[in-house]
Symmetry: C3
Subunit: 262 residues, 3 copies
């Protein structure tokens, strides 16, 4: 785990281009800003090329896409792949909604994702495994998540993150886990989307997607844990505000002290 990447990220302030969903977009922008990246969002196909050229990485979120936005998002992914910029895909609700799964599959045929970040239900659906997903939530599947994550990574030729109370990360061979966190991440709707874009920020400053994914998951999860340790009384609303404060101020040493991973 290279926590030095956090310093690199803050020093280089990479531009992360987001195809964001309209539910959580403000959290995503502020989360990127807080951690030290520079967010930019677009919904218009005519500006995609220019924005991909300017960006260091791209985060594509499938939540609330319309037909027009799917077209723009596809173009964004294709241009990013041509420019060899890392692409993170967040397949919101593909575990529960077939239309979303088909959209994700069509996009992944059009361009390769560097990293895919979803909950267990979403990753299982992409990998073709049975899982009892529920709406935007992970649901109640009970398969072997290591196996599912690894196989999905193999199938889609990328790094896969199945995030949750434990984050499981695989590049198709290696498996890593991040054990830090707090249930309050699940209590706030924007957490997963924010993590996906923060993964893109780390991928912008690290040539190895597996390492970028691991580090991003640890920084995000441990930051949440640190803030809950310091503010025991927080609920989902105050947690989401403190999370921005802590993403902006957390230090490598504080993270190292509580990091739990393998």
């Amino acid at each position: 785990m290279k926590l030095n990447l956090l310093t690199t990220l803050r020093e280089s302030n990479p531009i992360v281009l987001n195809a964001a969903n309209f539910v959580t977009v403000q959290d995503v922008a502020n989360g990127l800003n807080a951690i030290g990246a520079s967010p930019i969002m677009s919904k218009e196909i005519d500006e995609v090329d220019e924005m991909v050229q300017m960006a260091s990485s791209v985060a594509i979120n499938l939540g609330t896409l319309t037909k027009l936005q799917i077209k723009q998002t596809k173009e964004m992914g294709i241009l990013a792949a041509q420019a060899q910029k890392p692409v993170v895909l967040d397949p919101v609700a593909v575990g529960a909604v077939k239309h979303r799964l088909q959209t994700a599959q069509a996009l992944l045929e059009a361009f390769p994702a560097t990293i895919i970040r979803g909950n267990a239900g979403e990753i299982a659906a992409l990998g073709g495994f049975d899982w009892n997903a529920k709406g935007i939530d992970a649901g109640s599947g009970s398969g072997d998540l290591d196996e599912i994550t690894r196989k999905t990574a193999q199938k889609l030729h990328c790094t896969v993150i199945a995030s949750g109370s434990t984050d499981t990360i695989s590049d198709g061979e290696k498996i890593a886990h991040v054990y830090n966190g707090t249930p309050l991440f699940q209590a706030h709707v924007g957490s997963g989307d924010m993590l996906s874009s923060i993964v893109a920020a780390f991928a912008a400053v690290c040539a190895d997607p597996f390492e970028a994914a691991q580090t991003a998951c640890l920084v995000f999860a441990a930051t949440g844990e640190l803030l809950v340790n310091a503010h025991r009384e927080v609920g989902p609303g105050t947690f989401s505000m403190y999370l921005m404060d802590y993403l902006a101020k957390v230090t490598k040493d504080e993270l190292t002290d509580i990091a739990q991973f393998d």
Copy 2:
């Protein structure tokens, strides 16, 4: 008033499908999540059928609709009615903007709403009463709100909530009132939209729309009052964060202690 419904809601975690406006959508999602429901949002007509089937209830918000979204929203309402799932309609700004009123009327001709939740100006407009509405705000009308609410419910064959410092609820015959609350609800733009979707969450776990409406209004208003009693210094920003915390932790007993309704 059946405050037991709050326990039922939290235990069954119903999926509430939202046609949300882009201004307040994050608050709506987080409010639903906090109270114990599972929010899902969509803007694409091709996924509406699947989502209606998966959802326990539907909340349709007219704020910031475009032509394309009106089409999708209409389909959502028609499919929900066919599937006999409760539909809550939030007619944002119909009191002040004729185009919005016409949109609401066209939608209500296409499918029946189970419950309509608006401020006094919006409900008066739907019922055909004079009222001096102002933008998205209730405005300064002075009609008999009981009469307006009851008549609007009769006209539209549904339960109607005119929410405000006092919430007035009618199914066309019975009238109920909720007297709890705090002026900070009006000071935060997302409050009404959040209430509408929370009404949909209660309608998902209660066969009687009038009872669902009453209980949702009481839980929401009294939760806000409880938090202001505990944090006297809050303004509109901190209120909105604490509201999520309190929606997540408020108990039936705490609500019973301060409930004021008839």
Copy 3:
């Protein structure tokens, strides 16, 4: 500087119509509400005429516009100019994205802006000056900002605000500065967009755009400074919540005490 305008604004509660971007729209709505204005948002061309008539001023934000929205936004500006209502333009990212610059220029050919509010990189781009803008951020240009602001105002026949740690305001002849503020404004993504709409709220209650611009900048910047003085521990997340509280409660006397401008 006429801080009395704050009282006028709160007493008249002007409706500000916003063509908002989807990233920061909730902050914009809540910021307007907190300061004492009545926000309304629209994305549909069919309701623009009615909304312009009802509004006291208009704020047009170029962030995340699509082709359809550019069309609607153009109509909004033209109708507002015809109705002689003040129009504030926020040219998000025109310093870094040519497509955005062309969009801004096309809009400014279709209707005159009363006030333009951007960061240094955005104002420089509109004025045709070299500046090293970065994404949505001001970037690292080092030109004479007084000169750039004045010349851009002359070129576009309007009042121009280049906001930042110091705000520079010019009507093409006079130059004003506001020195209040806190770096936390830059740490929160919605700050600039919120300021633009608050400028529109002041323009709704003040016939002189230069004076409205100055006062809005001072009220906004000094309110942020006041809150940081009172809550030394805030980071970007808690700052954004307290900002709403303070915009709602700040008094003319508190602002006068710390105001720094020329």
